[in-house]
């Protein structure tokens, strides 16, 4: 199992920054307020808000140095990526993890942050937190937002979800790995690539063409990523796009068809997604997945 960074206590500091796309400061205000209400202090990175004229929250150098400082800052116990978008792949090779390896801290986020999750777990065997980011806090607290709090403070998660018609019943134990399908496919063959053997893999995505979801799954399949899984968790595949000639299958149908040949347990419709339903999940931590006829349980073991 991966090394677990120290859990947070009241008074500990969470750093907030934008390593990828730009985010206006106002959109993170509610998040800051809630984190403070939980008893944490907040340290703001220079890449949150700011005056970047384009897509990114700053130049590569600015985003890199902001992230590096948070990573190396002894006062910061966790680093929350305020938003994803695109951009971590541009700086990942230049991040120095030397100090972080010795003194790990929680790295939090999803979507583009999938690159960080896979990179850190594969290279350093350190757990990270796949979880809602700043925008998810805007409508106030809900069970998904709160799952971040419990994950950071060391309460073992125990998620219960209703069954889905495509589920494959069974139980599995394994370290959790996964995230955004497009990013997981994209890092194939790079130094951030990940192993899936005996692990529970989870996948989610947004705004992809259905044929491209199919193609990315074929890539992972042909890379042997599906052969020896312990279990599989399918999250939300939302806002899918289709071509003029319809692909003829929903995302769930595409995935269902792809995994027919495997006999490990599979849970569809799990709350991990770009929508409101997005539970905090610890990468590299051992979980028990129990898929039965009417319920799905995912318990941190």
């Amino acid at each position: 199992m991966a090394k677990i960074p120290p859990y947070l206590d009241r008074g500990d500091t969470i750093g907030i920054l934008c390593p990828a796309g730009y985010m206006a400061f106002e959109r993170a205000e509610k998040c800051i307020e809630i984190l403070q209400s939980w008893g944490f202090q907040v340290k703001l990175g220079r890449t949150l808000g700011g005056n970047s004229p384009n897509y990114f929250s700053g130049t590569d150098e600015e985003r890199l140095s902001d992230f590096q400082e948070m990573l190396d800052d002894d006062d910061v116990k966790a680093v929350l990526c305020a938003r994803g978008g695109y951009g971590i792949g541009r700086i990942i090779e230049n991040i120095r993890f030397k100090k972080f390896k010795k003194a790990p801290k929680w790295i939090i986020g999803f979507s583009d942050v999938t690159v960080l999750h896979a990179h850190i777990y594969s290279n350093f065997k350190i757990s990270t937190l796949h979880a809602p980011m700043a925008a998810a806090f805007q409508d106030g607290e809900n069970e998904y937002v709160e799952s971040v709090r419990w994950a950071l403070t060391g309460r073992k998660s125990s998620y219960e979800v209703k069954a889905h018609g495509f589920n494959k019943v069974g139980t599995a134990k394994g370290e959790l790995i996964g995230g955004n399908l497009a990013l997981l496919a994209h890092i194939s063959g790079t130094s951030s690539d990940f192993k899936t053997k005996n692990r529970i893999l989870f996948l989610e995505d947004i705004g992809e063409y259905l044929y491209n979801i199919d193609r990315m799954l074929y890539q992972l399949k042909r890379n042997g990523k599906f052969d020896k899984l312990a279990g599989l968790i399918i999250g939300g595949f939302t806002e899918n796009k289709d071509t003029d000639r319809p692909f003829g299958k929903t995302a769930d149908e595409i995935i269902h068809e792809m995994f027919k040949e495997y006999d490990y347990p599979i849970a569809f419709g799990f709350p991990v997604s770009h929508e409101r339903d997005n539970y905090a999940l610890k990468i590299g931590v051992q979980y028990k997945l129990n898929v039965n006829a009417d319920k799905v349980f995912l318990d941190e073991s």
Binding site: Y55, F56, Y86, I187, G189, D214, R215, M216, Y218, Q219
Partner: protein
Amino acid sequence: MNRKRFLNSILTLGALPSIPFTAKGFDDDPEALTTPKYLKSGDTIGITAPAGHIDHEEIQPSIIQMESWGFKTKIGATIGKKDFTFGGTDLERANDFQEMLDDPSINAIMCARGGYGMVRIIDRLNFTAFAKKPKWIIGFSDLTVLHAHLNRNYGIASIHSKMCNSFPDDWSKAEIIQIETINSIRQALSGEPMKYLLDVNPSNILGKAEGVLVGGNLKTLETLSGTKSDLNTAGKILFVEDTGEYLYSIDRMFWHLERTGKLSKLKALIVGGFKVKKDEGDEEFGRTVYDIVLEKVKKYDYPICFDFPVGHQKNNFALKCGVKHRLEVAEDRAELKEIVSTTK
């Protein structure tokens, strides 16, 4: 007799068992590359739909044209077949392609159109007979899967070009650039040495290079990464093109090439057409395709040629993947030329 021809001749005699192709890649030795036999008048081109669906009617202009070049055509069972976007089910498409691969009366296989679907059947195909007696396989876009797979695993050349769905309906009314593009397929298939004179682009990086040409659709190449169809680009001239991608996605794909080591050992880079999808809302990416490419390759010293006539556009000239070429990028001119192998 050069080694290539020697290898061909013994293979056709069936004296050798099939070559065990290792994960290392057959393409690591450029001298071991095989060029299928060029076509002559009376030879047959098989037409199949391994990816997207296409009707009989849509391929008629290509049949008329290829027959006017003196070739016969053979229509595969997948033409007219439809399984939603696909030209038939995976099994139907794989069977049709397999028959074309194994049919000795077919001298070349033209994919009727791209779309999506090749990767779903590539691992079902058996290339044993084909590897013993290679034939030209023609297509682009989604068929980049085939070009990469053949280069990586069998070192067999293939033709990256327009497909049946791009032949002009009325040849007499077609634009010159369309006619030249389609004619370049005939030229490539017939074994006329390829030569491309290019417009000068101010972003070009000057230089000369020789190497085996590989490449195709950038997104498709990325989705092959890590698989057994993944390209090895070391010592080669890489060409890439794409369509309908956001700038951020193009940036991410070039980072992918860089992070998988596919840019560091190139002999040269050829950038074809990139039809960019407009940024959404106020999320301006702030970089052009030129910026994106140059940012990744500025530390390398090989020549780079932009706006090469290859891509999802009218000027998309036939390129022989897996064949040695020479690229010369000068201030006042740029030229890509096939290196015709001579008997040693």
